[in-house]
């Protein structure tokens, strides 16, 4: 009985001694983790390609400093044109929002929210923010550019999908019906890119990797 008591008392002490205070392992993990995050900050200086941002995200520095990659803008966009930047475009901006005009374009949520983009409205950190009174016309998301090598109209096929789609009359047809972008009128809404058929199956532009008219980010 006496012996039994002794062993249990020592084991209580054992248990108490085992209680980790701040162990060396814990310290290493903490310092290692903190150091890793500081090192990760260095990604700021790794190069990345410019991408077309949603409305209000044109100030690249502000967007990158504020965006927490919460993905809310992707969900909010009724046209589904906002999606995460790919790793290929730069590690720092991975998962920040980018415009993909494959199946739709941006009209500043004219129907859905009376001309106030929902992505800007839902952004919790002001990574996407428009100045007061900003309109679709006054906000330059990017500028459309035509690749004359792959554009079907430049092969004199008479294609004019982009010309018909442009809501701002920013595309003209020249004397032989080839589309030309009027940069001053273009706000980068993506309507032209979303209808361009140059990459569709059966297209004669073989070897092209992107559509013949694409919105490019403003420098």
């Amino acid at each position: 009985m006496e012996e039994d008591k002794q062993t249990t008392e020592s084991s209580v002490d054992d248990l108490r001694a085992k209680r980790p205070n701040i162990s060396r392992r814990s310290m290493c993990l903490g310092i290692g983790g903190a150091a890793a995050l500081v090192a990760l900050g260095g990604l700021k200086y790794v190069g990345s390609t410019a991408v077309v941002r949603p409305p209000g995200g044109q100030d690249e520095d502000r967007l990158v400093s504020a965006c927490v990659r919460c993905q809310k803008c992707y969900e909010a966009c009724p046209r589904g044109v906002i999606a995460p930047v790919h790793v290929e475009d730069g590690i720092l901006q991975t998962r920040t929002p980018k415009m993909y005009f494959d199946n739709g374009w941006c009209d500043f949520c004219a129907d859905e929210n009376g001309g106030v983009p929902l992505c800007v409205e839902v952004c919790p950190t002001r990574a996407l923010e428009l100045p007061a009174g900003a309109t679709a016309q006054s906000t330059i998301i990017g500028k459309a550019a035509i690749d004359t090598d792959t554009c079907l109209a430049y092969r004199l096929t008479g294609c004019r999908f982009c010309y018909d789609a442009c809501p701002y009359e920013a595309i003209e047809l020249d004397e032989i019906n080839r589309p030309v972008v009027i940069a001053d009128k273009c706000n980068g809404c993506g309507a032209c890119e979303s209808v361009c058929v140059s990459l569709k199956e059966g297209s004669i532009s073989s070897g092209a990797t992107k559509r013949a008219i694409v919105v490019e980010p403003q420098a």
Binding site: V68, N103, P124
Partner: protein
């Protein structure tokens, strides 16, 4: 047939632990997956509640507190919605401590994928841990005088013994995350946050199948997530800066904590050695003998493992623990930094 055995099982569990609530346990396990499904539906329908990074309808939402701090430190701007979110989250943590970690966070659920990488559903380390938790002191034996003294302390005197571990490894990671955001000017941790990566993975997979958006991210994002939570086994306990933030604010939390009814507890009512609650706790809290636990009460995730394990059904989670001079003791609500008991 399955149902039969399950019923038997739960019946047995009922006999073993009268305080166990299998329904709640099931809900707790299911909730993170329900959140993930809701988020996925939101992505699909373009109407939803956002992700855990910013949860809420449209512009009425609660931003992740770490993201809110990170974005404000990085952009050197005060963002109203971030400030409001911080205040809401602070109140929630004050009331509920780390409940988020135990009930909502997707990381523990994702980390269970570890089992897919192990034979027989459990990894060797899991088994080792379970072995380490099995009673070292024979349960059922009468308490020694010393142990009785410990009991007394946990119930009545723990108030006074304050101070001790302010900083653990998660705290250092938290400091690193915020410091790095301030220095480099972007919310650094958000880039690798496993909660963010979980929802990023869901979105990327949906886009890959939905609109054929195939990208290297589809491999990199889940790989990073797995590296963090599956191969880094102790992410939540040793690295997660969000958990650190909650523990920090949770120090002031005194509500909804496991509370032992001394009239039911075997140790106090029958003088029998038990300790089942302490062994059940994954966070390392010992509700009965706080001084013996590896963690303080502010680490409690309300997972109810202690209540489910208690053979006497003595543990409940009342909103406010009755102050005890006589009667039930708020086992750990009061103990806080009792860990500083002098090493003998």
């Amino acid at each position: 047939m399955n149902r039969d055995t399950e019923e038997k099982k739960s019946a047995r569990a009922q006999v073993k632990a009268p305080g166990a609530k299998p329904g709640l346990a099931k809900l707790r396990r299911a909730l993170p997956w329900i959140v993930m499904v809701v988020v996925a539906l939101g992505f699909g329908l373009h109407k939803g509640f956002g992700t855990l990074s910013d949860f809420g309808w449209m512009d009425v939402s609660v931003l992740c507190p770490l993201g809110a701090l990170g974005t404000m430190l990085a952009s050197k701007l005060l963002v109203p919605r971030a400030l409001i979110s911080l205040a809401i989250v602070a109140v929630l943590i004050l009331l509920l401590g780390r409940t988020f970690c135990g009930w909502i966070c997707s990381v523990p659920s994702v980390a269970k994928l570890r089992r897919a990488f192990a034979k027989g559903g459990r990894t060797k380390k899991d088994a080792e841990e379970a072995a380490a938790r099995t009673p070292k002191l024979a349960p059922g034996a009468p308490l020694t005088d010393k142990e009785k003294a410990l009991l007394a302390q946990s119930c009545h005197e723990a108030h006074s013994s304050r101070g001790s571990r302010v900083f653990d490894s998660r705290g250092a990671v938290l400091a690193g995350a915020l410091g790095s955001a301030a220095i480099f000017g972007f919310p650094v941790f958000c880039l690798v946050c496993p909660i963010g990566l979980t929802f990023a993975t869901i979105l990327l997979v949906m886009r890959a199948f939905g609109v054929g958006d195939v990208t290297v991210s589809l491999i990199v994002v889940p790989a990073l997530l797995l590296a963090e939570v599956v191969f880094f086994r102790k992410w939540c306990h040793t690295l997660c800066p969000l958990g650190a933030l909650m523990s920090l604010l949770g120090r002031a939390n005194r509500t909804v904590l496991p509370t032992i009814d001394n009239e039911k507890c075997l140790e106090t009512s029958k003088d029998r050695r038990c300790g089942a609650c302490g062994r059940a706790c994954e966070e390392g809290i010992d509700p009965r003998h706080p001084q013996l636990g590896a963690a303080r009460a502010n680490e409690c995730t309300r997972c109810r493992a202690c209540a489910d394990a208690c053979p006497a059904g003595a543990i409940t989670f009342p909103l406010i623990a009755r102050t005890q001079d006589e009667g039930p003791a708020p086992a750990i609500a009061a103990q806080e930094e009792a860990k500083t008991l002098p090493h003998s």
